[in-house]
């Protein structure tokens, strides 16, 4: 699985934030997106995941190859850990949640309702969802928020296993995750206010 992005431009709230973004992500590799807050990492990831159309540019892999995970985990408070995972497995048409439970150490919590989990446990459950999607490219937005050191290590191992299996990961993060990865600083791609002729471009 290979993801090639060429000359991509994306907008947030109708305002262009990044332009000319280009990179290649091969199977078995991970790419960490760096850059200050508000630069547009989330916007870029949402564009890749197909949640918003790009202003310009090409994305070689369709959104159906990507599993997107963001700040919000999409958990239902009144469902148990197992039910939450099983639901996403059925939505994505995959079988078996055992691997997800094991890799994120959720086995003991399986019967607990999501509302009774700690913030870090919820986060782990949200990340475990990635495994049941069965999709090769993980698109992750700040996955380690509210994880403790042990959980970050757990997550790092899960990503590493995913990469060894031929998958790829694109991660916006500020910390070191404990596996080898290329880095891409998106700051140079910040959209420049275009020279104003007049009007139509001033709408964008």
């Amino acid at each position: 699985m290979e993801l090639t992005v060429q000359d991509l431009a994306c907008a947030r709230g109708g305002v262009p934030v990044l332009e000319g973004v280009g990179f290649t992500l091969r199977g078995g590799r991970a790419l960490l997106l760096r850059g200050p807050n508000g630069i547009g990492k989330t916007t870029l990831l949402r564009t890749l995941a197909g949640l918003q159309p790009p202003l310009a540019g090409r994305i070689s892999a369709p959104p159906e190859t990507m599993a997107y995970a963001a700040h919000a985990d999409g958990l239902k408070a009144t469902l148990t850990v197992e039910e939450n995972l099983r639901f996403w497995a059925r939505v994505f048409g995959t079988r078996g949640i055992d691997r997800a439970l094991d890799e994120f150490a959720l086995r003991d919590l399986a019967q607990r309702q999501a509302q009774n989990l700690s913030a870090g446990q919820k986060r782990r459950l949200g990340l475990a969802r990635l495994l049941v999607t069965g999709r090769p490219i993980w698109v992750l937005d700040e996955p380690t928020v509210s994880l403790d050191t042990a959980s970050v290590a757990l997550f790092g191992q899960a990503v590493a296993r995913h990469l060894r299996g031929g998958g790829a990961a694109l991660i916006a993060t500020h910390i070191h995750l404990g596996f080898e990865a290329e880095e891409l600083d998106v700051t140079p791609f910040k959209a420049k206010p275009r020279a104003l002729g007049h009007f139509d471009e001033a709408f964008a």
Binding site: G13, G14, V17, H198, F199, A202, F203
Partner: protein, 242 residues
């Protein structure tokens, strides 16, 4: 030269600035002639007495109430297909004008209805349909106001306009079915039985033209305002980014 060139905001601003004085002039002229003629110089009708003079406001405003929605539908479709901002902004600009027209048609209809039918409000199909249209205008305008992102607002209001059009037609049919009404006969008999077409028709025609021109003038003015407001928004966002 393609018609779509006028969808370029700058071109639109230039053209509209050039034609606006002319449109305003014609509007004032035709409304003045039509309304003065209609109000002062037409005789009373046998069945209606002097209330027939209300027709010079009631019919044109009712016509524009519907035409404004049709125009919004067309510009919404143009926006969805061709992504011309001016088109979406013109739809937004037209809505309050259509709302006012609907209100005028409703109020004059109610005032006219009192001497004719003995009641200000009857759940006559046409009146009811206009009341529903009024609600559609309110919803449409409220949705525009509620959404922050201007492109998303344009998209969503366009979707609402299309779906709303279908349901407005459906409501029109449903309301007809629900109450056969008093309206239709009254307007028709005026032309047929008494055959005084020219006396009433000519000033009515001029008033219709006046309302069309007024609508165009208002939509042009308001679209210019919306374009400027949009540009302010874009510039401010740009300042914040830099």
């Amino acid at each position: 030269m393609s018609l779509w060139e006028y969808a370029n905001p700058q071109k639109f601003m230039q053209t509209s600035a050039a034609v606006l004085p002319l449109v305003w002039g014609l509007t004032v002229l035709s409304l003045a002639v039509g309304l003065v003629w209609g109000f002062f110089l037409t005789p009373e009708a046998v069945n209606f007495g002097s209330t027939v003079k209300i027709i010079y406001l009631h019919v044109p405003s009712a016509m524009m109430a519907i035409n404004a929605w049709v125009m919004m539908l067309v510009t919404s479709l143009i926006w969805l297909v061709r992504r011309h901002h001016v088109s979406a902004l013109a739809a937004r600009a037209a809505a309050p004008v259509g709302l006012t027209m609907t209100l005028i048609a409703l109020v004059t209809g109610a005032i006219w209805g009192e001497p004719m039918w003995g009641t200000y409000w009857a759940w006559d199909p046409r009146l009811t349909a206009f009341l529903i249209l009024f609600l559609f205008y309110l919803g449409y305008i409220a949705l525009w106001e509620a959404i922050e992102n201007p492109d998303a607002a344009a998209d969503l209001t366009s979707v609402l306009c299309i779906v709303g059009s279908v349901f407005a037609l459906l409501s029109r049919y449903a309301v007809n079915f629900w109450n056969q009404g008093l309206h239709q006969g009254a307007t028709l008999s005026l032309d047929k039985e008494e055959n005084i077409a020219n006396v009433y028709w000519l000033p009515l025609l001029i008033c219709l033209a006046g309302f069309v021109l007024l609508f165009i003038a208002l939509v042009l003015v308001r679209t210019r305002t919306e374009i400027r407001a949009r540009r302010i928004k874009a510039l401010v966002a740009r300042e914040r980014m830099a």
